[in-house]
Symmetry: C2
Amino acid sequence: MRSHSESTLAALDMRPRHLLTLTVLRDLGGSTQQALATRLSIDRTNLVGLLNELETEGLIERRRSPEDRRRHIVEITPPGRETLAKAEFALAAVEDAVLAALDTEQREALYQLLVQATGDLNAGLSSSC
Amino acid sequence: MRSHSESTLAALDMRPRHLLTLTVLRDLGGSTQQALATRLSIDRTNLVGLLNELETEGLIERRRSPEDRRRHIVEITPPGRETLAKAEFALAAVEDAVLAALDTEQREALYQLLVQATGDLNAGLSSSC
DNA sequence: TATTGTTATACTCTATAACTATA
DNA sequence: TATAGTTATAGAGTATAACAATA
């Protein structure tokens, strides 16, 4: 499923990192780079180049925080939301294809078992990526 | 589960690669480097250093093939088998800890659903790593 | 003095090209 | 000419150290 997902994202000129970043920014509605890096479980130094790429594509914006001028507030742009929606749609199709061998009841059973096994740690996350 | 497994292997001075290589060599009972690389889905050039490490530890041996002197026959040594057994024992404990939230029936159900979902592709592989 | 974003750098993992020795 | 193992090397991905601006 990972391999299929990555191919699908590559067709949209994205890597999993980009999708995750856009998803977090949409859900948070803006964040400092430090907080965003923590949320993504990556080093803040590696976030710099990632945001540069997303900014070049016009998918996110950086602006100085008025309260603390050391900080950048990062926000997803309307084109970023569109691209994110397209990626999520394509990935839903991938998930459907990968789970084609299971009917609806079985998929639900699998999901519940995984949630229970992981102690509900990731119960709120999307099933893809 | 991956993260727990890798920590456990690190305590034995091993990475997943080492475990997989030893497992394949035990199951195959000897192989050329080319065939081993294919079996491990890694490039033959990257297998060289990996085997050097295992050979230094005395876990595998290389010898020239009498039939085709271009080839090396790679085999697991008795100490290699011991180390492999230790690693598998430790990893079984990790699996048990990770799946602690599921009872026996639920574990079996999860396993069956995963096998069915993946089209039995990996039905013969170990559940760890 | 501490923190935020940034740059430079090192280390790992992986893949490609080229070499040697054999066939 | 082709193949097996090897080496050198280049490219991603990731982590640490150090810097400028700001608190």
